[in-house]
């Protein structure tokens, strides 16, 4: 992680470098419905990209195709110079892409720690013999993991770190989101996909969460983020660049202010201006 961060710190150099993620002609069809229509999209190393568009424009579908939950009907995905089209979700995660879900997919009966550890699974020893018989070694791994989870949670806030062993179902919405983000971050991915992190939260909570994300990002400058959001002030505040989708294709791209002023984008959201 650090090597990349060292060599790339200026936004100018990032843009010049080969993109971390490049999708070409990405298409996803469900029966007669075209959810992604030959989408071309690239994300530079270290950038925070906003992905916006009206409801049903294909944003979440894009995430699902990217993470291997759906198999693309056409097109290619390259990540860090490697073709990841059609890989299984496990392999995509191993390649360094982690995500959150629009509708929280935490395992609510499990503790915060357990949920975070689900994200950390690749780094834990999961052989049956190890887990059952080598309890001492497991204990060491566990203590380490608790430390890691606690410090990760503490980057959000101390209360969350204190509630590490409470069931996720007892947390309120914003803390559940934080746990989801922790789960996605614990394996130090290169690309983080955030699917509507503000959904179901108040304006104040949203602001708080965005502060948290920026803080995390400050601690890991090389982390690349793609964020789907409806809250435009979130997009404005968080992103350097946005891509607007409508009907599964890109209708605009650029800094938020420019995109928001775009007539096509306004129509996509607000409908055609009626005289």
């Amino acid at each position: 992680m650090t090597a990349a961060a060292d060599t790339m710190d200026g936004p100018a150099r990032e843009a010049a470098a080969a993109p971390l993620l490049a999708c070409a002609g990405l298409t996803m069809r469900f029966g007669g419905l075209v959810a992604l229509d030959a989408l071309d999209l690239h994300v530079a190393q270290g950038e925070i990209l906003g992905l916006i568009g009206p409801n049903g424009s294909g944003k979440t579908t894009f995430f699902n195709v990217l993470t291997g939950l759906y198999r693309a009907s056409g097109g290619r995905i390259a990540f860090a110079g490697r073709d990841i089209t059609g890989l299984a979700p496990q392999a995509v995660y191993r390649a360094g892409i982690a995500r959150t879900f629009q509708r929280s997919r935490l395992c609510l009966p499990l503790t915060v720690f357990d949920n975070v550890m689900i994200g950390n699974h690749l780094r834990l020893s999961h052989g049956a013999c190890f887990n059952v018989f080598r309890r001492g070694a497991l204990r060491r791994q566990y203590d380490e993991a608790v430390g890691a989870a606690r410090s990760l949670a503490a980057t959000f806030n101390a209360q969350l770190a204190a509630r590490l062993f409470d069931a996720a179902g007892t947390l309120d919405m914003i803390d559940r989101r934080r746990v989801e983000i922790c789960r996605a971050l614990v394996n130090t991915p290169r690309l983080l996909l955030l699917d509507e992190p503000s959904a179901g939260m108040t304006r104040g909570e949203t602001r708080e969460l965005m502060d948290d994300i920026l803080q995390v990002r400050a601690a890991r400058p090389a982390l690349t983020i793609v964020i789907i959001e409806h809250e435009m002030n979130v997009i404005e505040r968080m992103t350097q660049r946005c891509v607007v989708l409508n009907y599964g294709s890109k209708i605009a791209e650029g800094p938020f202010r420019a995109v928001a002023a775009d007539r096509g984008v306004q129509e996509a959201y607000l409908g055609q201006a009626v005289a």
Binding site: L33, T202, V234, G271
Partner: protein, 239 residues
């Protein structure tokens, strides 16, 4: 029916799922014979409002009165029986039923076959394509056609009041314009409409009055023309 009477009143409504409140102290009124719109971006609580009115998500606090009857917490089918109809978000047509069956479900509370036939003819008049393809399965239709079906189904009940949740969702501008036109015509025939939308411009073009919902609270209300120029509306979307 006097134009000033409130067909639907929502008073100080609180509602939500799990632990979080999605609606906070929401009060709105839809006047009889008018189109009242609720504007707001995604996640502002629009759909929860519709669900609370219909009794699908029982409110935590507050009251819903429809045509003088307190319907707070009433089972959904009883609310519908009082003359309410709903065109749900995302169309929600029954994919494995034919177009005609979908339409007939809209008139489920109506027992009289003659009336049902008449309404079918009316809907076919509005959307000729639904008449041409009665036996096609709804799931095989395009998004725009499904939207037509959903609206037609809502009209089949011969409602006094129509709740419409995001009719423009995922539709091309042409379809959106067409559907809004239908809504306007239906309203002109005396049906009260509560239109929940994200598409502000076209909505305000046909609505009489409106409310703007943001993060579960009403942040603006007024006549459609007043809202059209209201900065709050743009803020609700673009921050």
């Amino acid at each position: 029916m006097t134009a000033a009477a409130d067909a639907l009143e929502v008073e100080h409504l609180f509602a939500g799922y799990d632990r979080a409140d999605v609606l906070i102290d929401v009060s709105i009124a839809a006047r009889a014979g008018e189109i009242t719109c609720i504007l707001g971006s995604n996640g502002s609580g629009k759909t929860t409002l519709v669900r609370s009115i219909l009794g699908l998500t029982p409110p935590r606090r507050g009251r819903v009165v429809f045509g003088g009857v307190d319907i707070t917490g009433l089972p959904t089918h009883r609310v519908i029986a009082l003359g309410m109809a709903c065109i749900p978000e995302g169309r929600k047509v029954f994919p494995k039923l034919t177009i005609e069956e979908n339409l007939r479900l809209g008139a489920y509370r109506e027992a009289d076959e003659v009336t049902i036939r008449k309404r079918l003819r009316d809907v076919h008049g509005i959307f000729p394509r639904l008449g041409e393809r009665r036996t096609q399965l709804a799931g095989t239709m395009s998004g725009g056609e499904q939207a037509m079906l959903s609206i037609g189904r809502g009209l089949m009940g011969g409602p006094r009041m129509l709740l419409i949740d995001e009719p423009s969702l995922g539709l091309s501008p042409l379809f959106v314009a067409q559907n809004f036109d239908v809504i306007r015509r239906v309203n002109e025939q005396g049906v009260t409409v509560l239109l929940v939308e994200q598409n502000a411009h076209q909505t305000l073009a046909i609505a009489h009055r409106g409310y703007v919902l943001s993060k579960g609270r009403v942040v603006a209300e007024g006549s459609a023309s007043a809202l059209r120029d209201n900065e709050e509306v743009r803020r609700a979307y673009f921050g």
